[in-house]
Amino acid sequence: MVPLSYYLVLSGILFACGVTGFLIKRNIITIFMSIELMLNGVNLSFVAFAAQWHALSGQVFVFFVMVVAAAESAVGLAIIIAVYRTRETLNVDRVNLLKL
């Protein structure tokens, strides 16, 4: 059996990749994908713990997260399309109308 720590390290790496991608990428789509990466990193740690402790609640949480992430990506993609239509760019640095 693979030790728990392996899963957790992989989960941490996935999350860190997601954060890094979120911070350094300018394309909205890529940023969006980084968010999914972070979510899945967390999911991995959930299921790992669930398997370790034989507790179903971790798995249930993961399903919740996946459902919410699916809904979120639907809304998020719609927003991205709307942004692209109005501003004709996907560069987040140029989507800065909320600046003071």
Binding site: V19, F22, L23, I24, R26, I31, V92, D93, V95, N96, L97, L98, K99, L100
Partner: protein, 667 residues
Amino acid sequence: MTPNLHLWLIPVLLLVGAAINGLFGRRFSRQIVSAIALGFSGAAFVRALWIALQLSSLTLPHVESLAGWIRAGDFQVDFAFYLDQLSLVMLLVVTGVGFLIHIYSVGYMWEEGGFYRFFSYLNLFMFFMLTLVLASNYLLMFIGWEGVGLASYLLIGFWFTKDSAASAGKKAFIVNRIGDFGFLIALFLMIQHFGSLNFEQVFHSVSGMPAETAGTGLLTAIGLLLMVGAAGKSAQLPLYVWLPDAMEGPTPVSALIHAATMVTAGVYIVARSHVIFDRAPQALMVVAIVGTLTALFAATIGICQTDIKKVLAYSTISQLGYMFMACGVAAYSAGIFHLMTHAFFKGLLFLAAGSVIHAVGGEQDMRRMGGLRHHIPWTFWTMTAATFAIAGFPPLAGFFSKDAILWKAYSSPYGSWVYWLIGVFTAFLTSFYMFRLWFLTFFGEYRGEAVATERVHLADSSLAPAPHEHGHGGIHESPKVMLIPLMILAVLSICGGWVGSERFDKFLSPALHGVSTGYTTEDASSSSAPERSEHGVSEGLLTSISILAAISGLFLAWLLYYRRPQLPQEIAQALGGFYQAVLHKYYVDEIYAVVFVTPLIDGSTRILWHGVDRDVIDATLNNSAEGAREVSDAMRHMQSGNLRSYAGWIAAGAAVVIAYMIWMGTR
């Protein structure tokens, strides 16, 4: 059981009149405005007369409580009115003279702008004055006291676009504040020691106290503080400076407020509080000294004034000094008697002076008048009556009251021959400056230029409507509506004294001696008996001397201003510096400016404005606002609109939280 007199109606009638004219008068025609003002003031006068006629069936003092006002523990103040002989006399004087002056004002103010405003203020003044006179406690009296000050301020500054009028109003108000300060402290002392401000309760408490003959104590303090208030309102030394300036107001205002009624409020309050003063001989002496000095001081200034209204203003101060002299020797009835006759003849003098000013087109300088007696005969004859009355010629009103005061000043147990001597000398001066005014105005050649087509003070005032139907076409007599009050007042100036001071004293005695018990009553009533003079001088002799003083004043004025008009110039040059000092009113205004006003303004500017307000209060506010702005300015760069920097902040924040949790966990 006394019938319900509804005393409250009298002041409230005037308040209603003031309110109607003040609120809606702008839309009314002049006829309606004057009808309202005259109607309400006339109704008040009729009401007062009706009460006076019922006098025999009344039990005085009559107290009428209208409503509760302040209740705090045992302390209680009501809206209550108080009628006794003293307030009845005041009531009749105020409503009677006030009503006559209302009539006169209709003619005098007819062409002025702000006609409704004037009558609204005039009614308002009467309302407050009647509240003052009828109040049954010191607090309600104080309301009236402040209210007449307010009305006086409004009316002095009636032509408010004229700078001098506006500042004269302010001066009157501020100088009166100094007096009111003393009045208020006196009230606080009464509350503290007697627990009440009602006349009856206070006087009852006081009459149980021994007279402070040896030292000074509470009653002396209250008396002196009341005198400070009275000196402010009644223009006594050293607070008289506002009254001459108050002549900036329209002449009927000078007549009503600054001669006949409001300025006598101080005399009234001293007479009203006689129970306190009777037990505080030191305070009484201060009243007498202040009154005597003011009488002399103002009379000497009056000699050199050239403005006809200023002469009358100083004369008013001087006559008020007489009244205080009378009160100061505990001859309150003589003071009130003089108050009444003075209201008649001084009101008349001012109104007649207004008529003269009206006739010569707004000119107030007597040096540019002269020879007017043929042009304005009615004004001339009424003014003659008033002049002889104030100068103290028998059998006119002023003779009786002034003689009563002088006699009491000499013979009263508080009196002294010094008061009498100064009083007689002042009577001589009074006679002199009044006849100087009379000769300069009505005799000799007319010295003015051709009468201007517009009245001067109208031209100064942008309030006035441009075209005048009146006030042009040479020297002319005033309209009838102005002359009738003059005639009535002239009759009163002649006959007003015939009641005699003895009878007047007897009439007032329940109010002025009734509450006090013991020795004061005996002393005060016995002092009116002529044969009990300490010095053995008969009243007749003193009376002859004062008549002689009046006649010599007339003679001197005749010599200097009619017979040999060049003589005053020579005398003035001979006297040199002294003449200059008198001409400039002893530089009192200048001294006050240097001693009080300038330091006050400088101190306020440097310390309070620059130091406290600008450098502390404003600086605190401005600096904290500036600090907030700078911090915000630094912070606002965080909100760049850059999504990734937001994410960076979130990540950094999360990292800090996690680090904190780890640190907490490992501890």
